[in-house]
């Protein structure tokens, strides 16, 4: 406390600057030190108070150390406490003087009054002076055995403090094992809780160097300890309950009846008024049921009401913390909350960070039955005085439009936004209409009629302007004056500050030219000239590229710049599902509030102890394969795929219309020629032309982005697998622990495969037909996790595979472990080829 560093701060009138007051105090303390006059304690109290108040406001009073210690020979407990506080604060910076206090603290540790024993012991351990640790061991040892629970409670924390000052002294004195004994036998629950906290910290810190410590750490989550704590949970204080619940999260029950026992025992914790207890309980429930899809689903239903109650009771701060967790659950399983959408309506007086969460939740839960109301509500916010929130509300409407099948009504709303004539509303709405058209080209007629009425002069924001220009280019055949609007934009080239807009303008003029050549020719010429002269490298490069490709062959240019487009079915999500899963695993922690996993904001040494998730433990072995994913789950999968966010989609989407790239282009003729050859081959290949995704790959490569062209389907290698391989789960688990990862890679899953992966079962049967067997599977959309195994034909050599498939990114993360490392590459090829055939056969 009392940061000495702050002492130079300019003092406010209520805060004396220090110097003279401190020396004054020093004098007065000295006078009182030896006095035995009646009432001297009262005068001391006044002086001590002054000292501590100076300390708090940041005045350095460490020079009084000697006098304070002299004055502390008293039986007045209030004085003693103030003195302890002072000493604890300054001992670290005055290690020599701290020695002075040892004597009276040690004496107090043997006092008759347990209060004084406890207080003295706490202060003794709080000195944080390394060369005094030898004086700690004795009092701590007797403190742990004290008959009074207050003293034991303090002593346990004292052990932890000692560990932080000198780990070796603490370990040598065998304190951890005493704590372990106390944890399992003490009658006082706060002593037990403190032992648990201390042991978690000590053993986690030791685990990196000591085998034994890591065993002890694991023993904390063993069945006997967990059951012992769970059975007493109601005796613990609410804070200690949180501690125990957190520990239980890491426990892996052996079977489902155990899971249900634990859940039944903890059921009433969900009705607790303390949000921390409820969230800790929910985490236990969620973790325990991860592999039991239907029960997991029930848990969601079950925790809904308590969470909503917590959100609406308590302080705004607490309610925010709970709401963030609710947000996480809503994003994972929106269908569970779709009838509760009214709870996510924003209230006018809520802070922006709450409104933002609620907007995302409203977007997520929108479905056929509630969309009308939700969109109506969101439209109210669009006129909100809080402009950032108004903008986000409009974006939310757009996102809902993108994830709905019947967008009719929403399109009308969006078009109404365009007519509201508020700059920011128009800007946001334009961007949305553009995205909407990319997904639902059939709406072009209605949209274009309205967009055509918007004067480009009223649109200033680069993103919106780019969107408008994109539409002008894309739909120039439907918009009467498109060439002329573009022409006037080109004329004002120099006034356009955003490179993004200029890039779009180039492309749009090109597209317009292909559709209406006579009207656009002059604009195109002007645009290319301006573009080539542009100081911005990307704009310059693109203009030059267009110019050269036009000169080479106009029809090739058209096929490159304006190929027939397939509607975008899925916009990419900004956050990978791996990250989302990490955050979910860290439920009831800051990760949920920050929306990032802990490794992104915590230093290594401050990671929470006991972070040892057993990968397999989270999945049910064997039986999971028989679980049928409920259809709702599948729907959810679909929706999650459609959850879009603007950032990534911008880059991804532009791949389709060939704009907004940074094009590394060296301008040499050979390179153009080489690229040209590729175009030829790409375009002449009838199967690739136009609508297949491979076509865009080819174009990407032309642009030198280094993205691999059509992924080569590997030919099946020589490796032969045993069709009737068998491996029991425990052997698998053991092998998985022992073997190193032989290969780890990311494989793209073809779109048919993604579509076919509605439930884990589908893939299991398919892989089995390739002699790759599943031992465990689980997860929920969009993330599925599988553990496969295979055996070499006529050999007992095993291959173990962990495969995490993310359906929204269409990627599979594959880890392979093998008994025979030499053939793991062959097996990997085999696996990849089997996976690539999924959904096509």
């Amino acid at each position: 406390m009392a940061p000495p560093a702050q002492s130079q701060r300019s003092p406010s009138p209520s805060q004396p600057s220090g110097k003279s007051e401190v020396s004054d105090l020093k004098l007065q303390l000295r006078q009182l030190a030896g006095s035995r006059a009646p009432g001297v304690d009262d005068s001391k109290r006044e002086l001590f108070k002054k000292v501590i108040s100076y300390m708090t406001i940041g005045i350095d009073v460490s020079s009084l150390f000697g006098e304070m210690v002299m004055c502390s020979a008293t039986s007045d407990i209030v004085l003693k406490k103030m003195c302890y506080l002072y000493v604890g604060n300054y001992a670290k910076v005055n290690p020599d003087l701290a020695l002075l206090t040892i004597n009276f603290l040690q004496r107090d540790c043997r006092d008759e009054d347990p209060m004084i024993r406890g207080l003295a012991l706490r202060s003794l351990c709080s000195l944080r002076v390394a060369n005094l640790v030898e004086y700690l061991v004795g009092p701590l040892g007797s403190g742990l055995k004290d008959s009074n629970s207050y003293v034991r409670m303090v002593a346990v924390m004292g052990v932890l403090k000692l560990y932080h000052i000198s780990a070796s002294t603490c370990i040598d004195a065998d304190f951890p094992s005493i704590l372990k004994h106390l944890m399992l036998h003490d009658s006082d629950t706060q002593v037990v809780a403190n032992c648990l906290s201390a042991l978690q910290e000590i053993w986690s810190a030791e685990a990196s160097t000591s085998e034994e410590a890591s065993r002890e750490r694991e023993a904390l989550i063993s069945k006997p300890v967990i059951y012992y704590l769970l059975n007493r949970i109601k005796e613990f204080s609410e804070w200690a309950q949180c501690l125990v619940l957190e520990l239980v999260t890491k426990y892996v029950p052996s079977d489902s009846s155990e899971i249900f026992d634990i859940m039944n025992l903890l059921e009433d914790r969900l009705q607790h008024a303390n949000g921390a207890v409820v969230l800790a309980t929910i985490r236990v429930f969620l973790q325990l049921t991860l592999s039991m899809t239907d029960v997991h689903q029930q848990v969601y239903e079950h925790i809904k009401a308590p969470l909503l109650t917590l959100v609406s009771s308590g302080s705004p701060e607490q309610s925010y913390a709970v709401l963030s967790h609710l947000h996480l659950l809503v994003m994972r399983a929106p269908y569970v909350f779709s009838s509760d959408y009214k709870h996510f309506y924003c209230q006018y007086n809520e802070p922006s960070y709450v409104k933002r969460l609620k907007l995302e939740m409203l977007t997520a839960v929108a479905n056929e039955s509630n969309t009308y109301e939700i969109v109506t509500e969101l439209c109210e916010y669009a006129a909100n005085v809080d402009i950032p929130i108004a903008r986000e509300s409009i974006r939310a409407v757009g996102k809902i439009a993108l994830q709905q099948y019947d967008v009719n009504a929403i399109v009308d709303r969006l078009l109404q936004f365009l007519e509201m004539e508020k700059d920011y509303v128009t800007a946001e709405a334009l961007v949305l209409v553009k995205d909407l058209l990319r997904k639902y080209p059939q709406w072009s007629h209605d949209c274009i009629a309205v967009v055509g009425n918007i004067s480009s002069k009223n649109v200033q924001e680069p993103k919106a302007k780019a969107a408008l220009i994109w539409m002008l280019g894309e739909y120039s055949q439907d918009m009467q004056d498109a060439p002329y609007v573009l022409e006037s934009l080109v004329e004002n080239w120099d006034e356009e500050h955003s490179a993004e807009v200029r890039l779009h303008l180039l492309t749009a003029v090109m597209k317009c030219f292909f559709k209406r050549p006579p009207e656009t020719q002059s604009a195109l010429g002007a645009a290319l000239a301006a573009g080539i002269a542009d100081f911005h490298q990307d704009v310059h490069d693109r203009a030059l590229f267009y110019y050269r490709i036009l000169r080479y062959n106009v029809s090739v240019a058209e096929r490159v710049v304006n190929p027939p487009k397939q509607a975008v079915s899925v916009f990419a999500d900004t956050q990978s599902s791996e990250i989302k899963d990490r955050i979910f695993d860290e439920f009831n922690s800051l990760s949920v509030l920050y929306q990032k996993p802990s490794y992104m904001f915590t230093d290594k040494e401050h990671r929470v102890p006991l972070e040892f998730a057993d990968e397999l433990g989270n999945l049910s072995i064997g039986e999971a394969a028989n679980n049928v994913v409920p259809t709702q789950m599948v729907e959810e999968n679909d929706k999650d795929l459609l959850l879009t966010t603007s950032e990534k989609e911008e880059t991804k989407g532009s791949r389709n219309n060939g704009s907004a790239y940074t094009v590394p282009y060296d301008g040499s003729s050979t390179s153009v020629f080489a690229s040209q050859a590729q175009i030829e081959s790409a375009v002449s290949n009838p199967t690739l032309a136009g609508h297949s995704p491979q076509a865009s790959f080819a174009i990407d490569d032309l642009l030198g982005l280094g993205i691999p062209a059509t992924p080569a389907v590997p030919s099946p290698p020589q490796l032969k697998l045993n069709t009737k391989a068998a491996l029991d789960p425990s052997t698998f688990q053991q092998k998985w622990r022992q073997l190193p990862v032989a290969l780890s890679q990311e494989i793209s899953v073809n779109p048919q495969g993604v579509a076919a992966l509605t439930a884990p079962q589908a893939l299991l049967r398919h892989m089995q037909s390739h002699s790759i067997h599943c031992i465990a599977s689980g997860g929920q959309s969009p993330n599925f996790k599988f553990f496969f195994f295979a055996q070499k034909f006529e050999e007992s050599s095993n291959y173990l595979v962990e495969c995490v498939i993310n359906t929204s990114s269409a990627k599979a993360q594959v880890k392979i472990k093998a008994d025979d490392q030499n053939t793991s590459q062959d097996f990997s090829t085999l696996f990849e080829s089997a996976l690539s055939k999924f959904g096509t056969s």
């Binding site: 303090v154 804070w239 009401a305 302080s315």
Partner: protein, 451 residues
């Protein structure tokens, strides 16, 4: 596990500062204050209760204008820490009687004493006022409660009801009253915060009641207490959607969507006769929180009309009717309404002869404000405002203004009809008859009428 705890004044001064683990640099209070003060350059957005600066996580809650802050480097449960901060504020209030910058400054030694027992080396030990009593030796120094803005929600009882002893709720749990005798009394407050959104056509879009039964006990010897609620109270709306209003409006039954309880409540007979049994610990605590979406009669009906009245002119007519009985009076009623952004002037016209009403046009954020000190049940009040605009409105005037939002406090009235039927104190002595106060209050949480 937390690293530091501190309380900052509105100006950013340290009132108390306790470092438990020495892991976070000393300047954290200043870093924190600067960050909170300048969260966004435009000053528009307030800082969230939790944020991270250079690997240090800062948690804060605002209580009576003070910032209660905790720091840590570890990825802890945010609700745990925020709950703890709130609880520390409550414990301090229990001891000091009044929580304010002044009372904290006068009693900081006592506060340090509390902090040392509440948290040890960053780990929570106890936040029970009851348990803490045996560890605390400093006597609280009382500040003059009358001079201070008392802490909500206690403040809401101060006006409007004569039955309440004014200072009772600002009494420390440890201080003795003059004469050395403690007055035996117990307070049970039913506090309901209501949220209603009216559509432009006046029908209810959403409504919710968030209620708390709060208790503050000054009983010696901790006798057991039985609190009986409405017998027809039911909890959980089963398969019904939470937003389905068809249910039982006016039928008498009180249906809670959900509720939660403080740890020490025994619910043995709750299912049978809706009775809560508990041994109230010293200090203030919520016995039960509940949430209700059952339809209720909104206490105020708002009618707002805004229209153009000639070139660069507009008119607003705002009518509010109190729908509660005339023996009840709401106080501190405020209505606010954003006006079109080109509004330069607004002139107001109140009903002839009314007193205790105040109107204002806030030029900076183009807001109309209407304060009514008192609002008697059954009465309707009207405000007319003539607006002058600096330029033509582009769109429909209704799209440029509103919504109307309202705040109020209605003492001795609750909309849910949840009631404490009786409050029984189990102590077998005929002479023992402590004061029991059961108080109801309704407050606006978000009360909005769209136009």
């Amino acid at each position: 596990m937390i690293s530091q705890f501190f309380v900052l004044s509105q100006r950013g001064d340290n009132i108390v500062f306790r470092d438990y683990r020495g892991e976070v640099a000393k300047g954290s209070a200043e870093i924190f204050f600067r960050k909170v003060k300048f969260w966004k350059e435009d000053g528009q957005e307030e800082a969230p209760p939790v944020f991270n600066v250079d690997g240090v996580n800062y948690f804060h809650v605002k209580v009576v204008g003070l910032l209660f802050v905790a720091t840590t480097r570890v990825n802890v449960s945010p609700s745990l820490v925020l709950e703890l901060l709130q609880r520390i504020a409550r414990v301090i209030k229990d001891y000091l009687g009044v929580l304010s910058e002044d009372s904290l400054r006068k009693n900081f030694v006592l506060v340090y004493e509390l902090l040392d027992e509440v948290i040890d080396f960053g780990y929570m030990q106890t936040t029970s006022t009851e348990v803490l009593k045996s560890y605390i030796f400093n006597e609280p120094i009382m500040v003059d409660a009358a001079r201070l803005q008392p802490l909500r929600p206690a403040a809401i009882f101060m006006q409007g009801t004569k039955r309440m002893p004014g200072t009772a709720i600002t009494k420390s749990v440890v201080a003795n009253e003059p004469g050395g005798r403690k007055r035996e009394e117990i307070f049970v407050d039913i506090i309901e915060k209501i949220s209603v959104t009216f559509s432009s056509s006046g029908y209810i879009l959403t409504s919710e009641i968030d209620g708390t039964i709060q208790m503050k006990s000054y009983l010696t010897g901790n006798p057991e207490i039985r609190l009986a609620l409405n017998e027809d109270l039911s909890i959980g709306r089963g398969g019904e959607s939470a937003n389905d209003y068809r249910s039982s409006y006016g039928s008498g039954a009180v249906i809670l969507d959900d509720c939660n309880f403080v740890e020490s409540v025994r619910l043995d007979s709750f299912d049978m006769d809706r009775t809560l049994a508990l041994v109230p610990p010293d200090g203030e605590f919520p016995v039960m929180n509940y949430r209700m979406t059952q339809e209720f009669k909104p206490p105020f009906h708002i009618n707002c009309l805004i229209e153009e009245a000639g070139h660069l002119k507009g008119e607003v007519i705002l009518k509010v009717r109190a729908e509660f009985p005339s023996n009840i009076t709401a106080n501190t009623v405020v209505l606010e309404m954003p006006l079109p952004k080109y509004t330069t002037r607004a002139s107001f016209e109140l009903e002839p002869g009314v007193t205790g009403q105040r109107t204002d046009f806030k030029g900076a954020n183009k807001k109309l404000e209407w304060d009514l000190e008192k609002f008697v049940g059954g009465v309707e009040h009207t405000l007319r405002a003539k607006l002058t605009f600096s330029q033509d409105l582009h769109a429909n005037i209704t799209k440029e203004a509103g919504p109307v939002s309202m705040t109020f406090t209605i003492p001795m009235y609750n909309v849910s009809r949840l009631q404490v039927k009786y409050l029984q104190i189990a102590k077998k002595s005929s002479s023992y008859n402590p004061y029991r106060w059961v108080r109801y209050v309704t407050q606006a949480n978000s009360y909005v009428a769209r136009i």
